[in-house]
């Protein structure tokens, strides 16, 4: 029994934290709000690739480090803490989706390129229509004389404007699953959207767009698994953001003096921060639990992922709101970082399922499979 980060993970976390703070300070995220979208610069991106971050959770046989989902989550957490934008997370999840697709040939061909950055890919699941998740996928693949063709629309696809390959969830002749479409293929239109935190995302419209290989990249199981992994990475990002908001506010509460004493001595401040600390620790625990359950493919992995996402969506937004409130006037200035975390956590809270969606997923699990302990 050792339910904590390993030493390697702790080291990686510290390194990532330092690297991001140095190479992508908060000012970069702030400036990006004026010069949208927020994208990691070429040199920093190159360093990230060289550190092998995209392969931390991919198999060693395809150039990865063979780590687990938790290791990837640790990096996402630091991205959240340090406000690191795309194409980091979309590239990470694209590599993981292919690595766990179950399609050996494509996996050994693509994953090495996805990890070393020679092939930039992203992942597309959510669609217009207001429903979240794999069950709402309506994009459809038809087999015609020329092969498989995809028609449909995807919203909020991260970093699609810079990706060469799109990994798309769709209804196919072989059932729900992943297909690959080249971003520059005929019938693919990429319409730029942007997030409140200036991160890049797009609407991608497919009209009879040719599917690479005319076959599934991965089946429904692998699609759902990747959706859960992506969700847990977002939860980790939210955790990092919540920790950052709390830490900014904690420091401010120690330094700021009003009515003759540090405001951190007022219970209106200190108890509020104590509640956020509780939220963060519960969220971290849920995140670890969800990662482990995914790695061990346990039955309750999906509800634990939903638990982490629901909890941390609420917790990160609440921490950012308190940060603004407790900072008072200065919290609303452009120069303070609190609004940057507010923007990021508000976005991530509403992506890949908001708290209500994930609570409903938990309720469905309880209905179908949950076995509470019974008194003897």
């Amino acid at each position: 029994m050792d339910f904590n980060l390993s030493e390697e993970q702790e080291t990686l976390q510290e390194m990532a934290c330092d690297f991001i703070r140095e190479r992508w300070p908060a000012d970069c995220a702030r400036e990006a709000l004026d010069k949208r979208p927020a994208v990691i610069g070429a040199d920093v991106w190159q360093e990230i690739l060289e550190m092998g971050w995209l392969g931390v959770a991919a198999g060693e046989d395809v150039g990865g480090i063979g780590g687990d989902v938790l290791t990837a989550a640790v990096l996402s957490q630091e991205a959240g803490r340090g406000l690191l934008p795309g194409p980091f997370q979309s590239s990470l999840i694209a590599a993981l989706a292919v690595d766990r697709s179950g399609n050996d040939a494509i996996r050994s061909e693509l994953v090495p390129q996805l990890i070393d950055g020679s092939l930039r890919a992203t992942v597309a699941i959510e669609e217009p229509g207001g429903r979240y998740g794999p069950d709402a996928i309506a994009a459809k693949v038809r087999a015609d004389a020329d092969g498989w063709r995809l028609t449909g629309s995807k919203l909020l696809v991260p970093d699609a404007d810079s990706a060469a390959l799109l990994i798309v969830g769709a209804q196919t002749p072989d059932g729900l699953g992943w297909v690959r479409v080249r971003a520059d293929a005929q019938g693919v239109e990429i319409r730029k959207m942007e997030r409140m935190d200036a991160q890049s995302c797009s609407e991608v419209v497919f009209e009879n767009a040719p599917v690479e290989g005319d076959a599934l990249l991965g089946d429904e199981r692998s699609l759902r698994e990747a959706y859960d992994i992506w969700t847990v990475l977002l939860a980790a990002d939210l955790l990092g953001s919540a920790e950052a908001s709390l830490e900014l506010t904690r420091r401010y509460a120690i330094e700021r003096v009003q009515f003759g004493r540090p405001i951190g001595t007022f219970q209106a401040v200190s108890h509020r921060l104590a509640n956020h600390l509780v939220d963060v620790e519960i969220g971290r625990s849920l995140l670890y639990g969800a990662c482990l359950a995914l790695d061990e493919k346990r039955d309750n992995a999906a509800p634990l992922v939903s638990a982490a996402k629901a909890w941390l969506s609420d917790a990160a937004v609440a921490a950012a709101e308190s940060a603004l409130q407790i900072h008072g006037g200065v919290g609303f200035t452009w120069e303070y970082d609190v609004h940057l975390h507010m923007r990021r956590s508000r976005c991530n809270a509403a992506i890949l399922g908001d708290a209500d969606y994930h609570r409903d997923r938990v309720a469905d699990y309880m209905d179908e499979s949950w076995v509470p302990p019974v008194k003897a």
Partner: protein, 408 residues
């Protein structure tokens, strides 16, 4: 208990309503522009000598000519000497049709009433008519970097030198400073007195040498607030309001001079109406967002909150009409209105659901991003003019009469 007005008052209302329908929506004269937009234009304009604010001044002047501003002020200074009920009817009707914002709101609502109550005859004659016609625009210099919630610990100093005060220090969170002609401010005139007893209330011409304005950019990206720096700024002694070292009480009374809050209720109700429409239009798969039980309950709860505020306003107003103190209503209403506004915008983002992250001007953005802006505004609102925490302190002390902590 009744909510009716006298026949005379109803006639006043009818006349005003008619006037508003004749003068709003086209004829109002530039009034459709927001104060923020006005300021932006003023800053960026090349032709500032030709008064870029002329358009913005037209609307308050139209109102003034018709007799619908300065209702509570004496006729001698351009006011209307109107009854309390008429004031309320006027605020209510204007809120109902959402009249354009007034460029001289700060003058009308804060410094004007303060001068009516505490100003010298000369100050009243000189300033009040120019406030009413938006000839002079005013800004407020209260907060400082180290004196936010704890306003009384302000440090900006004024020393007496002959017939003048010499002001040194800094103010912050000053709205509309770049376009203002005058500032009213609190300064420390006796550094040795207990902190609330060494403060004076001064008026300063913003063109006085030594005043520097630096706009602050806010979290939403705009620049509504400024810092104002004072470097040996000389203010004639006649611009002192009230007694020397008596400024704290004057500022306090102007902060306490709250309305029944009924016009704020109309604005909240309109926001809820927009939110309901938004929820009625947004798809959630095969149904609309407004059909979801949790959304319905959340919106119903907001309706309840707003009705609570409205009827609280009726109670406050009844007390005021009867010449009684407003009671718990004014501080309670202010705190609760700000919380309600916060919750309402949070609900809006929840209803937006998957579309909530989308930035202004992106395709698929809901209601052109107004809910993001409203969310930031609401959060800021619960800080401006006394944080919700300070309001709770006030309620605990003044209404519940709990003992006061020793620290202050």
């Amino acid at each position: 208990m009744d909510l009716t007005f006298s026949e005379e008052d109803e006639a006043y209302r009818a006349e005003l309503r008619q006037w508003l329908s004749d003068n709003i929506g086209g004829g109002g004269g530039g009034g459709g522009e927001s104060a923020n937009a006005m300021m932006k234009r003023a800053e960026s304009s090349d032709e500032s000598k030709n008064d870029p604010l002329a358009g913005a001044r037209a609307w308050p002047r139209t109102l003034h000519d018709a007799g619908y501003v300065g209702l509570a002020w004496p006729k001698a200074y351009g006011g209307q000497d109107a009854s309390f009920t008429q004031q309320v009817i006027c605020a209510d009707e204007m809120a109902r049709v959402r009249t354009p914002p007034l460029i001289n709101t700060i003058g009308l609502s804060i410094i004007g009433p303060t001068l009516v109550q505490h100003g010298t005859e000369e100050q009243k004659k000189r300033f009040l008519p120019r406030i009413l016609r938006a000839d002079d625009l005013w800004c407020q210099g209260f907060s400082e970097p180290e004196a936010g919630s704890d306003l009384a610990s302000l440090r900006c100093r004024a020393e007496i030198d002959g017939d003048e005060f010499v002001v040194n220090g800094q103010k912050v969170w000053t709205s509309l400073a770049p376009i203002s002609d005058w500032i009213f401010m609190l300064v420390r005139t006796d550094p040795d007195a207990p902190k609330r007893e060494g403060i004076s209330y001064l008026l300063a011409d913003m063109k006085t040498p030594g005043i520097t304005v630096r706009p602050l950019r806010n979290a939403a990206g705009g620049s509504h607030f400024s810092e104002v720096f004072f470097d040996n700024v000389r203010v004639p002694r006649e611009h002192l309001v009230g007694e020397l070292n008596g400024g704290w009480q004057i500022a306090r009374s102007s902060l306490d001079h709250e309305r029944s809050g009924l016009s704020g209720v109309v604005a909240l109700e309109e926001t809820l109406g927009r939110l309901w429409r938004m929820a009625s239009n947004l798809d959630r798969g095969d149904h609309k967002a407004v059909e979801e039980p949790s959304t319905r309950r959340a919106l119903a709860q907001h309706w309840i909150e707003i009705e609570g505020l409205r009827h609280l306003g009726f109670r406050t107003l009844s007390n005021q009409i009867a010449g009684k103190p407003p009671g718990a209503g004014s501080s309670v209403g202010k705190l609760f209105a700000s919380e309600t506004r916060n919750q309402l915008t949070r609900t809006a983002l929840r209803v937006e659901g998957p579309l909530a992250p989308i930035a202004k001007r992106s395709p698929h953005v809901v209601d052109r991003g107004r809910w993001h802006a409203a969310y930031f505004d609401a959060l800021a609102h619960s800080i401006g003019g006394g944080t919700s925490e300070v309001m709770r302190n006030v309620i605990a002390e003044k209404v519940l009469e709990l003992p006061r902590p020793a620290e202050d």
